[in-house]
């Protein structure tokens, strides 16, 4: 039966490949080319250093590589496995057929190897094979290498399956989709902690331990066995056998554990999830309904807000905040610095914080605004049949996607400001100026959203095609770089003018020009601070509002002409069809 199922999967895969359009083939080719180039450089670097790598360093590299395979597969595999086990559209059909649940599970498990595990496997196989050739490793090494990499991939995948099968029994079915996203984040933290383990245990970073030839992980950690097996095999010693078998056995235990949960975790979990969708939260009818009818632009923004507010996955956009703010703060204070040490240096802490918050705004505003376009997804027909102009739609989506990060980051900024003891004018000035600057980033986001909208019902974070999201990041930072010139002019005190002028004289080329120009402006500021600050403010607002208007105008035009939203299948992540609209609206 498994053979039949796998044959069917193979057919689906082949047909999927055959039915791709030329554009997709080029995209695949491009991705392969980039990966190949990357692999080439990594392999070349390893080739060059292969002769000088000592055994302890090699031990660290192997341990780290195997750990990386497991970590990456858990990280990428968690949501993938969830889709395979619980949201694949073929499950309903398969469960009605006379096929054992275990057989379906095995098919899904094997199917999961194609994807993240295979990519990670190949990504390490090539450079480590290059190492073997360059260092003249024994022939057994290659066999053990394939075995160990495959075993590590199996361990990673089994852990991802195990976590999914366990978690599905613990969480309420109706929240499963959302909590799985949270789980992905938690697994990210888990993987992050794994890699931080050496630092926590011996106060040295992973790379420091690696380079010093010190053990990266304790001997009892299974990846150390794999590393040991590889080293022994490279030396041609038959001692590779025991650690290799130990690691394979460990993978076997994990597979066994996973398969024992199949009936309870897979089938029952799927049934619970299927039931769950019909039992969505029932609210008690409110006595007084709603706030009433509002302006169309406000109504669009409100509708967006409800969608964001009620889907935990939408908030994942803000999760990097944890990495940018929470972890650095923990790291900072764990280094023994007290808060009182930082207070009273407003002239330094405030401009630094302004730069930092602008960087965060550039990251979030554009992303959130761009996501607003593809959020329509399968409901796009509603806006397309309503008498709404492109301008109304763009404006409606703009105000809410600008306001949300503004509120969140302003609260954060106020907390930071209170702790650091900023002056009242610093609060007001910083908040007002950033409010002005960020409108531009948001409207760039809306415009980008109209170019590369993508909708994946199972993954609301994926609202842009890869290329356009990179383009957005670039545009947001270019915009910020341009706008930060007048802003920096306001932040940097006039007294710094001679220093900057000197910098300009010493540097040449583009940077020399920028420093010289900045030096001249600062010299003016030193003599006429009020005029220069006012002019800087004016220039910044004119630029920001002007660009916001321009991008909004372009977005409205594109919406009026019709925006294409790529609707992605939940199971395979492949573009199912393009919802190509005509002239009007979406």
């Amino acid at each position: 039966m498994i053979k039949v199922l796998l044959k069917n999967q193979r057919r689906i895969f082949v047909n999927t490949l055959k039915s791709q359009n030329l554009k997709n083939y080029f995209a695949y080719l491009f991705v392969f080319a980039v990966l190949a180039v990357l692999l080439f450089f990594v392999s070349q670097a390893i080739w060059n250093i292969a002769g000088s790598v000592t055994e302890p360093i090699l031990d660290g590299i192997f341990s780290f590589s195997l750990l990386m395979i497991i970590g990456m597969i858990i990280l990428i595999g968690m949501p993938e496995v969830f889709k395979h086990l619980y949201s694949a559209t073929d499950l309903e059909f398969l469960f009605t057929m006379p096929i054992k649940t275990r057989q379906i599970f095995i098919m899904k498990y094997m199917q999961s190897f194609i994807g993240a595990p295979l990519t990670v496997f190949l990504f390490l196989l090539v450079p480590l094979t290059a190492y073997g050739v360059a260092s003249g490793a024994n022939i057994i090494y290659y066999f053990v290498l394939v075995c160990m990499l495959f075993t590590a991939a199996t361990i990673g995948l089994s852990i991802a399956y195990l976590l999914n099968l366990v978690v599905i029994q613990l969480i309420p079915a109706r929240r499963a989709n959302e909590l799985m996203t949270a789980m992905t984040f938690l697994s990210g933290l888990f993987v992050y902690l794994i890699f931080m383990l050496p630092q926590i245990s011996n106060n040295r970073s992973l790379s420091e331990s690696l380079m010093a030839g010190l053990p990266v992980l304790p001997d009892w950690v299974p990846v150390s066995w794999g590393s040991d097996a590889l080293i022994q095999a490279a030396n041609g010693s038959m001692s590779f056998f025991l650690p290799m078998i130990l690691l394979i056995l460990f993978a076997g235990v994990l597979i066994l554990l996973t398969t024992t949960l199949v009936e309870k975790g897979f089938r029952t979990g799927w049934v619970r999830l299927s039931e769950g969708s019909g039992k969505k939260k029932k609210r008690k009818p409110k006595k007084e309904r709603a706030q009433g009818v509002s302006h169309p632009v406000i109504a669009i923004g409100k509708k967006e807000w409800f969608s964001i507010k009620r889907d935990m996955r939408e908030w994942m956009t803000f999760l990097p905040l944890a990495f940018f703010i929470v972890f650095p703060v923990i790291g900072f204070f764990s280094g023994g610095i007290r808060l009182s040490d930082l207070r009273g240096f407003n002239d330094i802490s405030w401009p630094i914080a302004q730069g930092f918050f602008l960087f965060i705004y550039a990251l979030f505003n554009g992303q959130l605004a761009a996501a607003a376009i593809a959020r329509e997804g399968l409901s796009a027909w509603i806006l397309r049949t309503l008498p709404l102009s492109g301008r109304d739609i763009a404006l409606g989506k703009l105000w809410i996607s600008w306001l949300l990060p503004f509120i969140i980051l302003t609260i954060l900024e106020c907390i930071v400001g209170v702790f650091l003891g900023w002056a009242w004018w610093q609060f007001i000035f910083g908040i007002v100026v950033k409010a002005g600057i960020t409108i531009g980033i948001s409207s760039i986001g809306i415009w980008i959203g109209t170019i590369g909208a993508r909708f994946n019902p199972g993954n609301p974070q994926q609202r842009l095609t890869f290329g356009t999201s990179m383009f957005l990041l670039l545009l947001a930072y270019v915009y910020l770089a341009v706008l930060s010139i007048p802003y920096a002019l306001m932040l940097v005190p006039g007294e710094a003018a001679p220093f900057v002028v000197d910098l300009g004289a010493e540097s040449s080329g583009f940077f020399g020009f920028v420093f010289s120009l900045f030096g001249v402006l600062l010299t003016w500021k030193a003599s006429n601070p009020v005029i220069v600050i006012s002019l800087g403010l004016l220039l910044m607002f004119v630029l920001s509002i002007g660009l916001a208007w321009l991008f909004l105008y372009e977005s409205a035009k594109r919406i009026n002409r019709g925006v294409t939203i790529d609707i992605v299948s939940e199971t395979s992540g492949k573009t199912l069809f393009k919802q190509k609209s005509g002239k009007s609206l979406y």
Binding site: S277, G278, K279, K280, K281, K282, R283, K284, P285, K286, R289, A290, G292, V293, S294, H295, P296, I298, A299, K302, K303, F306, S307, K309, R310, D311, G377, L378, S379, W381, I382, R384, T385, L386, P387, L388, S389, G562, S581, G582, K583, S584, L585
Partner: protein, 264 residues
């Protein structure tokens, strides 16, 4: 009933060389309940999507109360409402919030909105569920809230694609009565359906599309006349016009073969 609500002229939709809709022409008068029938893949949904501005025609024009939907989209869309066969609504909005959103876009007064929304929710038995998220609705409930959204702003013309699919018998009956009532008050309804009894009972005029071309157009009596009958159901006329007789004969032949003692 003489004023024209919809005018379709030489409407055509091609996908490459394949014509999904072949230069069709027809008109729908104000206050008329027009049924648009056809076999699967005949071009019904393509036509209705072109009429509502969701799909751009390859050729031809569509006038909605005198406005070309592709030249004056906003004006034309102010006149219409559309309920698709698979209403994908905003899952994270409650039923009431969805209606409020539609009302906001059409700028209906708050008082009128509340009155009309309560009335429609009551007709379709959704009053107690209006504060639940749409994602928790069944297919039928989604269909009903989409119909409520379409009617809440009292459109001049209502487009419905297979409106009774997924509705329980009571709601289907309520919808039929409501549509008749609205048409009598002056609303124009353009609906596609597979259920021929509905078309026969409700519609003032019927258009039949097959393979992208209009093959029959008129009242029930006119269709019978065209078919050379004085009586007969819409089903019989439909099957004859759409060439399903041969398929029926094959099925009958197969049934005979499967009977005990039949030819083997």
């Amino acid at each position: 009933m003489s004023e024209r609500s919809i005018k379709i002229l030489e409407l055509e939709k091609k996908y490459g060389n394949q014509a999904a809709v072949k230069q069709i022409n027809f008109e729908v008068r104000k206050g008329e309940l027009f049924g648009f029938l056809g076999p699967n893949g005949a071009g019904k949904t393509t036509t209705i999507k072109m009429m509502t501005g969701l799909l751009e025609p390859t050729n031809g024009t569509i006038e909605i109360n005198g406005y070309d939907i592709w030249k004056n989209p906003l004006e034309a869309k102010k006149q219409i409402a559309y309920v698709p066969d698979q209403p994908n609504l905003y899952p994270k909005l409650t039923g009431w919030e969805y209606l409020e959103f539609v009302a906001s876009v059409f700028q209906i007064s708050s008082d009128h909105f509340k009155e009309r929304a309560e009335q429609l929710l009551s007709i379709f038995g959704l009053t107690d569920r209006a504060n639940e998220l749409i994602e928790g609705y069944s297919h039928g409930m989604k269909q009903k809230i989409a119909i409520c959204g379409a009617l809440v702003h009292d459109p001049e013309i209502l487009f419905l694609d297979e409106p009774t699919v997924g509705l329980d018998p009571k709601s289907a009956r309520n919808l039929k009565n409501l549509l008749r009532e609205e048409c009598d008050k002056g609303m124009t309804v353009f609906l596609t359906t597979h259920i021929l009894e509905i078309a026969e009972q409700m519609c003032d005029r019927i258009g039949i599309i097959s393979d992208g071309a209009i093959i029959a157009l008129g009242t029930m009596d006119e269709l019978r006349e065209k078919d050379g009958r004085t009586e007969g159901s819409l089903e019989e006329i439909f099957l004859e016009l759409t060439g399903s007789d041969d398929q029926e004969a094959i099925i009958e032949e197969m049934a005979k073969e499967n009977q005990p003692g039949g030819p083997s």
